[in-house]
């Protein structure tokens, strides 16, 4: 669970660095070039299967864990507990499931289209690439799509805010000085990654 979670956390950074390229030029050349690299590099293409495995392991374990935890308390309390907790830890399954729905839509709209759908080619001085960027821009012109993205990404941020430090505790790392540092880094990470991903649909909707 924690290892898969940390793996997904690193993946999010890689994915974001590529996606954000789309905001840097109006011709989408940078982004299309990067997409071309990701789609053709054999190492990346192999690694993609490891990534799927990471998601599947994390999701299956997440559900199994949660179901066992529900079974462990068959009778609920009348008065809801309000102990001091890591706040978003209470909603990991909820934020997780929304992220899962998001993933489904994300796959249908990007992954499958990019991989198998017909995509127009676009020629730059550096070469001719699939115009993946045009697909992104077109989708993010739909306000409902943008709103759904914003909600899902915010919830992903909440998931990360708890998940980041939780993964280290699960792996046995709890230390007087390192743990507060991990919590701080986790908070910075969650905010930056969420803000980075959020910037893409918002900037495209309003400015592209």
């Amino acid at each position: 669970m924690s290892l898969a979670g940390l793996f997904l956390i690193t993946f999010l950074v890689v994915h974001l660095t590529i996606n954000i390229l789309i905001l840097f030029d109006d011709t989408r050349e940078l982004f299309n070039q990067a997409a071309h690299f990701m789609l053709t590099n054999p190492l990346i293409q192999t690694f993609q299967w490891v990534l799927f495995a990471g998601f599947i392991i994390h999701i299956i374990l997440g559900f199994v864990l949660q179901i066992q935890n529900w079974i462990a308390r068959p009778m609920r309390y009348e008065r809801k507990g309000f102990s001091e907790t890591s706040y978003f830890s209470k909603f990991m399954i909820h934020t997780g499931v929304i992220v899962l729905i998001f993933l489904g839509l994300h796959f249908a709209n990007f992954f499958f289209k990019v991989k198998f759908g017909p995509i127009e080619m676009i020629a730059y001085e550096s070469g001719v690439y699939k115009d993946v960027g045009a697909l992104v821009v077109a989708l993010f012109k739909d306000i409902w799509y943008v709103i759904f993205y914003i909600i899902s990404l915010l919830l992903l941020g909440f998931h990360l805010q708890h998940g980041f430090q939780s993964a280290f505790q699960s792996l046995g790392l709890n230390h007087k000085t390192y743990t507060p540092a991990i919590k701080l880094i986790g908070n910075i990470y969650s905010v930056l990654v969420t803000a980075g991903y959020l910037a893409i649909p918002i900037v495209i909707y309003f400015f592209k």
Binding site: L65, A72, Y77, S86, S89, Q169, N174
Partner: protein, 253 residues
């Protein structure tokens, strides 16, 4: 002060329970919570009704018998104390206090507010001890040099009284804080080291087998533990557990 008590009543393990409201009057702010329940019970006995069953023994915060989930918190609103150490000054006149038993599958209700915590004993039996004969033949414990920091940490872990508030507080009904405290107190001391690998694996296996939930690091346990056991012990247990799983098993004769 006058209070409304909303108490879980359940005649036996098999029967279906329900909440019953009671009024108590003229309770002193200096009374302890359990004394307040004693007053209620006396009035019930006078009326010929069945008194409310709840666990208690030492009434000074050391035995781990008392429990009670009071207004959404195990051992009530005060921090770092048990229900028996809590006083009525934590409540306001006219308040409604909801009193529930610990809720967890491995802690079935015996009667009213009493739950069966045998599951904790079973976890201890699975490895929460060292296998040496005690008595006159052992070298004096003080003869073993132990770093002060380790002794302090072990003592903190050993202050767990096995009350089960951690399970009650956890949204997953996980027993990790209890088990971690019992693993830690031995893992930190030389006497506990030889059996450390087997101990952690056996106790964790038992905990899972008994149907406690999984830890998702919400840290509610640490906030509610009357002995303020730290979740750093859970991290230690996780380390011990992975270490034990990864190292070669000891030879059995």
């Amino acid at each position: 002060m006058d209070l409304t008590l909303r108490i879980w009543r359940q005649a036996s393990a098999e029967s279906k329970g329900q909440f019953v409201d009671y009024q108590v009057q003229n309770i002193s702010a200096d009374a302890s919570f359990l004394e307040m329940l004693d007053i209620l019970n006396e009035s019930l006995v006078m009326k010929g009704e069945e008194p409310v069953a709840f666990d208690h023994d030492c009434r000074e915060g050391i035995c781990g018998a008392c429990s009670l989930y009071i207004n959404g918190r195990p051992h009530g609103p005060d921090r770092g104390i048990t229900t028996c150490q809590m006083h009525m000054r934590n409540f306001k006149d006219g308040e409604t206090i909801v009193i529930e038993p610990w809720r967890a599958k491995p802690f079935p209700v015996i009667k009213d507010l009493m739950v069966d915590r045998t599951a904790f004993d079973e976890i201890i039996q699975a490895g929460g001890f060292i296998t040496v004969r005690t008595g006159g033949t052992l070298p004096d414990a003080n003869a073993l040099p132990i770093p002060r920091a380790a002794a302090e940490d072990a003592m903190d872990a050993a202050s767990c009284i096995g009350c089960g508030a951690c399970v009650a507080a956890c949204k997953n009904a996980s027993a990790m804080l209890f088990v971690a405290a019992k693993v830690s107190q031995f893992a930190l001391l030389p006497q506990g080291r030889p059996e450390a690998r087997e101990r952690v694996q056996n106790m964790v296996a038992k905990m899972d087998e008994l149907g406690f939930g999984n830890c998702t690091n919400t840290y509610a346990c640490e906030a509610e533990c009357p002995k303020e056991i730290s979740v750093s012990h859970i991290a230690r247990m996780n380390r011990e557990f992975f270490g034990a799983k990864l190292s070669a098993p000891l030879k059995k004769e």
